[in-house]
Amino acid sequence: MYDAHVDRIYRLAYRMTGDEDLAQEFTQETFIRAFEKLKQFRGEAALSTWLHSIATSVIYNGMRKVTRLNKRHVDLNETTGPSDGPAGVEPDLRKRLAVAIDELPHGYKTVFVMHDIEGYKHEEIAAALGVRSGTSKAQLSRARAKLREALADYAEEWAS
């Protein structure tokens, strides 16, 4: 089970966190929980789907804790921290896109990362998140709209 699924779980955890330590921690926790609950797995869903539902839950809860910690860290830095860098330097599309993805609500970001980046199908996403396939599609659509909105000036430039 570990060998067959660890790559996909780790990739998803890394995409969602952008941090090697966190990605490893969340992946490990996913498998530890899976091994503990393996007796409860009834085979109604595919093992992969079941594992991904554990993974998304671990990542979601883990990220909430990290976000709370980071917020405190940022609050402290805001009073004494350095500036964000030289003004007037336009970051390129990838950097701006990364920031825009980071700022997406967690649900939108999860669906966007799973579908548009990692290539999961809507059925897989829906099963892992415990939602309907239509909900997954709607969330992806809203995520893309938010990204377009965030990069509107670039979109205009690109269109022209």
Partner: protein, 223 residues
């Protein structure tokens, strides 16, 4: 149309978003194994800590300690010797006899609790062995029961003829059970042992010696 094309551009650009490195499979697996072992060890500790056997053990140890304490306190006042035979008598005691009687009662409570624990253990031991569920905890319990039995035999409770005989036979049976731990799977020994328990009527006699109701209530009564 333009929107769709821009989405494609975004999708392509997003492939670099938090691009994962190679999966550190072995490192994570080692940590998973270590964490699982650690959690299992902790769970085992909690199980042992809260197991009925441990609670009984703690209860018996506490009752013995109380008995020894009362015995030491009262032996100075009453001039009784520690090794005085225990009189298990339903007759009421006079005020001058109340201190040693309390001491004897404390030992009796400890012995009763111990016999109750032994009865539970003997009732389940054959089933555990047959089902193959006799784990390390089971054999530890057998060893602890044997040690407790020997302690009680050397205590004033062992001076009571009824308890003495029961504790003596219990010691013999427990020694055989502990020996079984070294030769697991020896069906002949197991048969001889269970036959011996049946012939001696050990379980019914243990049950007769244990008064009805919770033993802990008796401790409360003593105190």
């Amino acid at each position: 149309m333009m929107e769709d094309r821009f989405d494609d551009v975004l999708k392509e650009a997003a492939q670099d978003y938090n691009a994962p490195p190679e999966t550190p499979k072995d490192l994570m697996w080692a940590r998973i194994e270590a964490t699982r072992q650690e959690r299992e060890r902790r769970r085992q500790q909690v199980r042992v800590l809260y197991s009925p056997w441990t609670r009984w053990g703690v209860g018996i140890a506490a009752a013995l300690a109380i008995g020894v304490g009362i015995g030491r306190l009262t032996s100075v006042d009453s001039g009784d010797s520690i090794g005085e035979p225990v009189a298990i008598s339903p007759e009421p005691t006079t005020s001058s006899e109340s201190a040693p009687a309390t001491r004897h009662l404390a030992y009796k409570v400890a012995a009763t609790q111990h016999l109750s624990r032994a009865e539970m253990f003997l009732t389940s031991f054959r089933m555990n062995l047959a089902a193959g569920t006799a784990d390390a905890e089971f054999w530890t319990d057998a060893g602890e029961l044997l040690a407790g039995t020997r302690l009680l035999l050397d205590s004033p409770a062992g001076n009571d003829p009824v308890f003495n005989e029961l504790l003596g036979e219990l010691e013999l049976v427990l020694v055989q059970i502990v020996q079984l731990s070294y030769e697991r799977g020896n069906e002949t020994e197991l048969e001889l042992l269970t036959d011996g328990i049946r012939r001696k009527g050990l379980l019914p006699r243990l049950r007769t010696a244990i008064p009805a109701g919770p033993a802990t209530g008796m401790v409360g009564g003593v105190l």
